[in-house]
């Protein structure tokens, strides 16, 4: 049991932190958000330089061979800065599908493009009716000669508007909610059959509604008749990044709140001298530390070989992170008071990011329900 970082991990963490401290102040972030794409190509190029874009890929394929711990470290820093770039969709999600589902030839072609910052990916999965259920897929893939042609509508495709390629789930067989018969396909986002409508989400990210009409798949990722296990695995790995990102957000929201409590005076004394507020701040710290613990657990629990046990691990991560994020987010607003309600003040933006983070791939309530149905974590005796 050892939570210390290796020298390389510490260097990675420090270099990301330094870049973001220099280039990702609150005002700078605002400017990136207002730009046409809603994030910064310049920063993206610097991520590439630091090796963040090739992080999880094997070294002999042009990556850096990073483990889940490295993913966690980077995601936490990006969370602290509320970074807007498509790192999770491209590197963690898209990268995950390539690592687990693509043939070596395809990886040899795409990994260098991703690591170099030229190619962005997005995961086109959610549909209007599917909410958080990964098995609910109506978009259809039809056999066409040796390949597949995809038609359907995907929504809330995070960073779908700037992606060069989309990872699309589509049904190859069975009914809309069947676990079997889901395929995962790689699609050229600029194909004439792809119609994208980009928009901003409440937390400042970008997303797109994507309509696919007879779009040929460039590649099949995994087994086209039985791809849900692949989706599950990639989503579980993404939860490592989401948990760490949330911890980064919570840390900053908590720090800001404590600082504010020390400086803001009412009744001639700092509001941090009032016990009611001190105890709330202490409760925020409890929630933050429990979340941090589960972020570590995520990096460990995702390596579980049995897919059901792995999923249960990650469900528990989502539950704790979601619960903590809600409490820390809401209380950081409450303890600040009115100032936190303003768009001009940073803490509200952390709250918004935390709120969206909780709901990504299912919120805490969703995963409690899942975990309860799956028998929980502790065996009866």
């Amino acid at each position: 049991m050892d939570f210390d970082l290796t020298e390389e991990q510490r260097l990675l963490q420090d270099s990301v932190a330094r870049l973001l401290t220099d280039k990702y102040g609150f005002e700078q972030r605002k400017a990136y958000m207002k730009s046409a794409e809603g994030w910064s190509r310049d920063i993206w190029a610097q991520y590439a330089e630091l090796g963040l874009l090739g992080l999880p890929f094997a070294e002999d394929e042009g990556g850096f061979g990073g483990s889940h711990v490295e993913t966690m470290l980077v995601a936490e820093q990006l969370g602290k800065a509320l970074a807007l770039e498509p790192w999770i969709p491209t590197v963690v999600i898209g990268g995950g599908f390539l690592r687990h589902g693509a043939e070596a030839g395809l990886r040899a072609e795409l990994v260098p493009q991703i690591a170099g910052g030229e190619l962005m990916l997005a995961f086109a999965h959610t549909e209007r009716q599917s909410r958080y259920d990964l098995n609910d897929v109506a978009t259809a893939a039809k056999k066409d000669g040796s390949g597949w042609v995809i038609s359907g509508r995907k929504g809330m495709v995070i960073h779908g508007d700037s992606a060069g390629k989309l990872v699309v789930t589509a049904r190859t067989a069975g009914g809309q909610r069947d676990a079997k018969g889901i395929g995962v396909f790689l699609v050229d986002a600029s194909h004439s059959g792809v119609n994208r409508r980009g928009y901003r989400t409440v937390d400042g990210q970008r997303a797109a509604e994507v309509e696919l009409s007879n779009v040929p798949a460039e590649a099949v990722l995994g087994n086209p008749e039985d791809g849900l296990a692949l989706v599950d695995q990639v989503v579980d790995e993404t939860i490592v990044a989401l948990a760490a990102e949330a911890v980064g957000c919570m840390q900053v929201a908590h720090d800001m709140t404590i600082d504010y409590m020390k400086t803001r005076k009412q009744f001639d004394r700092p509001i941090g001298s009032f016990q009611a507020l001190q105890h709330r701040a202490a409760d925020m710290l409890v929630q933050l530390e429990q979340a941090r613990s589960m972020s570590y657990f995520a990096a460990m629990g995702v390596e579980e070989r049995d897919p059901l046990e792995r999923r249960k691990n990650m469900a528990s991560v989502k539950v704790q992170i979601g619960r903590s994020a809600r409490f820390v987010g809401q209380q950081s607003i409450q303890l600040h008071g009115g100032i936190a309600m303003t768009m001009e003040y940073a803490v509200g933006h952390y709250f918004k990011r935390l709120t969206v983070n909780d709901a990504m791939f299912g919120d805490a309530d969703y995963w409690v329900r899942y975990l309860a149905n799956a028998g929980g974590l502790v065996t009866a005796a």
Partner: protein, 400 residues
Amino acid sequence: MELRFSEAERAFRQEVRDFIAKELPKETRERMLAGKSPTKQMVVDWQRKLNARGWAVPEWPREWGGPDWTLGMRYIFREELQMAPAPQPLAFNTNMCGPVIAEFGTEEQKKRFLPRMANLDDWWCQGFSEPGAGSDLAGLKTRAVKQGDHYIVNGQKTWTTLAQHADWIFLLVRTDPNAKKQEGISFLLCDMKTPGITVRPIITIEGGHEVNEVFFDDVKVPVENLVGEENKGWDCAKFLLGNERFGQARVGASRERIRRLKAIASTESMDGGRPLMEDPDFARKVTEIEVELKALEMTVMRVIATESKRKDKKPDPATSVLKIKGTEIQQMCSELLMKAAGPYAWVDGDPEAEGSNDIDVAPDWAFGLAGVYFNWRKQSIYGGSNEIQRNIMAKAFLGL
């Protein structure tokens, strides 16, 4: 970063588990499974078995019988005892007074007290709290006045756990009433058979006799029973309270309760003929607790990892989580167990009685569950109430 126990630690866990399986008397285990405290004899017998194995005093220095375990091994040992469930080595002897004597005591004191403490030849109790000194412990008033070779002790201690079994008591007393609160306190060891000591039971809301009032009326304590220097007793108290910071999390104990809870709620059908565990609301409550417990377990791991390496003895901010979350989870477990029993949780049996169901009305497993629920409200009060914990966090970690 290695987030798993090592091979050696896993082997150690198996060794502890095998030992418990072989040596723990069935009656002790069953009584504890039913949620009751083990009897005095059960605790004594078990601690002597542990002592014979060299495991009774994990926190002590090697020369006084400590096994020289890593913090990780100590944690594993306690967790296995809690999950069995088996009695812990008596905390007053092994976690509280023993380490204080080993750290601050004279050679004489160590030789005289430590071996008997380890073997539970003497049962110790803790004389800290007073009617006027609870959360504000340093406000204690029990006086000790030096007269020749003795201190004359007058005053009252309260909430003295298992004083009815005790042979000895370790005491915080005021030796300098004119000094600042923390600076006039001394740490004394006192034979419970000394004339002038009266023990009066306090019956707690569930009907159990666990705690007592202890009155001191001109009690003579030989000066050689002073530990450390006179008026420096607060250092001993702080050392004692700072010891074993991860002990209060009691992850193993909660896991044992959840196992029990799920077994009961899975087999007993009571909700429209279906097992209670199939009630989505109930299942969800259990699941929420399981998740919190998993997070707490990881927090304990973090504390162990940092404390193993830390030289400055400063606690990790995560330590503050342990008491608050550890007790909240245990209390929630006791509440859900009571709820699982439904109306049969209401039987008001004798919590001290031998056997699992002395009046034979409720199903065995249901007996006493409400009592445990009522009794466990103490957890967020003792050991520095959870509100005091929040004060500590606000000051020490948040700088408020």
